[in-house]
């Protein structure tokens, strides 16, 4: 079945450290892929998206993600995290080119001072 998987439920990193959040997809063709962030008690905000072309995508707030077809992955990275990055991160994809997208289960990022 087509799916989006985020293997890590929680990730803890120290402020200033680098970050990588994992996302894997299961889909035959090249999927469209998104990363959203949700701060506590808030709605979701798009960080970046991949449709085609350059496999390294730059987003807002200093985030980037790399599409790797060979690994069916679209991992989110940031070279140096800030305390304000503590939030829930969702990988998502429409998979079926439908009007709707499917979210992964999310990864909660905790930042140590």
């Amino acid at each position: 079945a087509q799916s989006v998987t985020q293997p890590d439920i929680h990730i803890t990193v120290s402020e200033g450290a680098s970050l990588e959040l994992r996302c894997n997809y299961s889909y035959g063709a090249t999927p469209y892929l998104f990363w959203y962030v949700q701060s506590p008690g808030q709605g979701l905000q798009l960080l970046l998206k991949y449709f085609s072309g350059d496999t390294l995508v730059q987003g807002i707030k200093g985030f980037e993600a790399e599409f790797k077809r060979s690994q069916s992955s679209f991992n989110l990275r940031k070279p140096s995290v800030h305390w304000s990055d503590a939030a829930e991160y969702f990988c998502a994809s429409p998979l079926n080119r439908d009007d709707k997208i499917i979210f992964g289960k999310g990864t909660r990022l905790h930042i140590l001072p």
Binding site: Y32, Y36, L44, F51, P94, D99, I101, F103, R108
Partner: protein
């Protein structure tokens, strides 16, 4: 500046008492979505409107209804809320379908059922 507005931000209702959640948008987007998000879970799509065309997810309970009287507004009606309906309800919009367009989310309405 707010683009997707949800009212109220917090709603408390009693078991079985109908409740309506409101969403409005200033983006003039064609598509409006309602998601249910329970604690520590991903948002779950309930239904969406493409213009006036209503699209219900197969597993959305009949207890949940929606109305879109015009482009700007969309309402979520819960006819007889149960304890299991306590959740954050997120409204989102996109210009075209979510497959290619960015979805813009409102801040959500947190529903408590007593």
């Amino acid at each position: 500046d707010a683009m997707v507005i949800q009212n109220p931000r917090y709603q408390v209702t009693q078991f079985g008492k109908p409740v309506t959640l409101s969403c409005s948008q200033t983006l003039n987007h064609n598509v409006m979505y309602w998601y249910q998000q329970k604690s520590s879970q991903a948002p779950k799509l309930l239904f969406h409107y493409y213009d006036k065309d209503f699209n219900n997810e197969a597993d959305t309970p009949d207890n949940f209804q929606s109305r879109r009287p015009n482009t700007s507004f969309c309402f979520l009606d819960i006819r007889s809320p149960g304890l299991g309906d306590a959740a954050m309800y997120l409204c989102a919009t996109s210009r075209e379908g979510a497959a290619t367009d960015t979805q813009y989310f409102g801040p959500g309405t947190r529903l408590t059922v007593l």
